[in-house]
Symmetry: C2
Subunit: 338 residues, 2 copies
């Protein structure tokens, strides 16, 4: 949300700052451009946790040689009319993931469903970005890395876009709290001994969706495993304890990802009408408190409208300061606010 | 769990009691047999909420003419090498769902992935039963009705079987609490005004997985919508507010369901080895309390071992009493305990 404190930067300036920063660590323009597209989209949709907040992490991965800067494309290792196994060749995550999503879309258009399993990839940003890509072509998209996403097209540009971590919250949300010196809410994180913690500094892990056993935390654990099976185990990439620990750079991440696209034309006619009716019937429910009932994708639409009104993306001053420091360290022209 | 109070009935006797009861309301033997298979499996795996507990509900559906007893098969309406749209012709749920799962498995074996979307179906019991069917053939299975399930094969008969309602708990669990005169735990259910309730009698709805907004209840809501999109909206069956209200019989349920099977042979080699390693690494984690760490499917395996040891399924006396009353009302020979 824009507050009195927030500093507005145009989308073009954010986009070009990401490209400048990526070029400073040697990334090819074609790879950096996809990352910039993703970051601008995440910021406009209000996912600050996956916007500039992650930029230094991507740069560190490249600087330490853990993400490749070679002029390569991902490789298709195995293929049927409806499936593909892809090696991301350790390229930057969003470039690999966009390639896989587009391949799944292409397969769905001919076979009705397309599933692309990918290994040798890296952090791919917001899963919803890929879902949106499929919904823009009238397709349904399911699943991602440990986050899980589903997008489905409705009418007149309206769409359902679920993009959720299978933990109670995404790590990026905890990072943002830490960056802003705010305490972590109940049920978000645990310390190294597995006990709940309210401080970003002492957190060692995220709690699963559902919290305790009685409130069904085992379901969040089960969902995380489901995503691990479809992404890590199926692709032959890293999985479970073979994952490189967070914030280390001793070996490539070798992330596995999974993209499934479904063409609703192969099923019952009138998909978008029913989708619209389902979404509108939720939105028209009488709310339990004063806030209106939303569906997945609505908060992002509201934030996008706010960015349009402001003529750019509203940033917390801490993020602007951090980006400026980063620019100085890498001798990159800093972002110019509006 | 077997307690001192529990009454043991052999699997064969439970199976034959279900068939007797179904024949009493006019269901064809081939349809009733599949329901009996499912109920016995659910009971052995410890899912009492989806065992005999549901029998009267199935009988009421048939008696009121809402589930068809005609000598029919489900119809395939549309098909590609990897997809199918099926009309369940309002047959009993497990018969329709087994047909769809087997069709998805067959498609996965030729195209690498198979998705079958089904409408005109009815309550299909435990989603895990269908997942197990796919894992037994070395395939991965994803999704169901509003519950969501994933099964993946590991080694030597070991497998991962997630089967979860996208609500905090399944309705059947609340019904069992009511039947046993026990209060509902925190975070399970709400009354007609949307406030939390601890009494089965006053409950009007289930809470979503995640609970409140701060503990990410909107994720449970999003997951429920995801399943609704893939099952109800894609198939053209009932969805959202077009669903027949629970415990009413004024029109057929027209449930939509979705079955996806994936053949891991089309992806990275060594799937079952990696699956085994992932599951074992979870099981070998040091527990936060004295109970060992489990993976989805383990509690069911433990209950199955208990049934083997007891020579039958242990029932709460209330369930035996209810089944006896049902038998009397329908002039069916009651179940004979061990």
């Amino acid at each position: 949300m824009a507050t009195e404190e927030s500093i507005v930067v145009t989308k073009d300036e954010v986009h070009s700052f990401v490209i400048r920063s990526m070029e400073a660590v040697g990334l090819k323009l074609k790879h950096g451009t996809v990352l910039a597209d993703l970051i601008v989209s995440a910021e406009c949709r209000g996912h600050a946790s996956h916007g500039l907040n992650k930029l230094e992490q991507y740069m560190n991965e490249i600087k330490s040689g853990m993400t490749s800067t070679e002029d390569l494309e991902p490789s298709v290792l195995k293929e049927t009319s409806a499936t593909a196994l892809v090696d991301g060749n350790n390229l930057i995550g969003p470039y690999v993931a966009r390639f896989c999503m587009d391949l799944a879309i292409q397969k769905a258009k001919s076979a009705g469903i397309g599933i692309v399993s990918c290994r040798g990839s890296n952090h791919f940003g917001t899963a919803g970005w890929y879902s949106l890509r499929a919904t823009e072509q009238g397709l349904i998209k399911v699943l991602g890395t440990n986050p899980l996403s589903l997008g489905a097209p409705a009418q007149n540009g309206d769409s359902f876009v679920l993009d959720m971590a299978t933990t109670a919250v995404a790590m990026g949300k905890c990072e943002l709290k830490g960056r802003r010196d705010q305490p972590l809410p109940t049920g978000w994180a645990v310390d190294v001994e597995g006990h709940e913690t309210y401080q970003f500094k002492t957190m060692a892990g995220l709690s699963p969706l559902g919290g305790t056993e009685e409130s069904s935390g085992y379901k969040g654990y089960g969902l995380a495993m489901m995503v691990e099976v479809l992404c890590g185990v199926l692709s032959g990439g890293a999985f479970g304890l073979t994952h490189r620990p967070a914030r280390t750079h001793d070996r490539p991440a070798d992330y596995g990802q999974c993209f499934i696209a479904i063409d609703p034309d192969n099923f019952a006619e009138g998909f978008t009408e029913r989708m619209q009716s389902l979404m509108d019937s939720c939105r028209n429910q009488e709310p339990a408190d004063q806030d209106p009932v939303l569906v997945a994708g609505d908060p992002e639409r509201h934030h996008q409208a706010l960015c349009d009104k402001l003529g750019g993306i509203p940033y917390h001053p801490a993020q602007i300061r951090i980006s400026k420091d980063l620019a100085t360290r890498y001798k990159v022209t800093p972002m110019k606010p509006l």
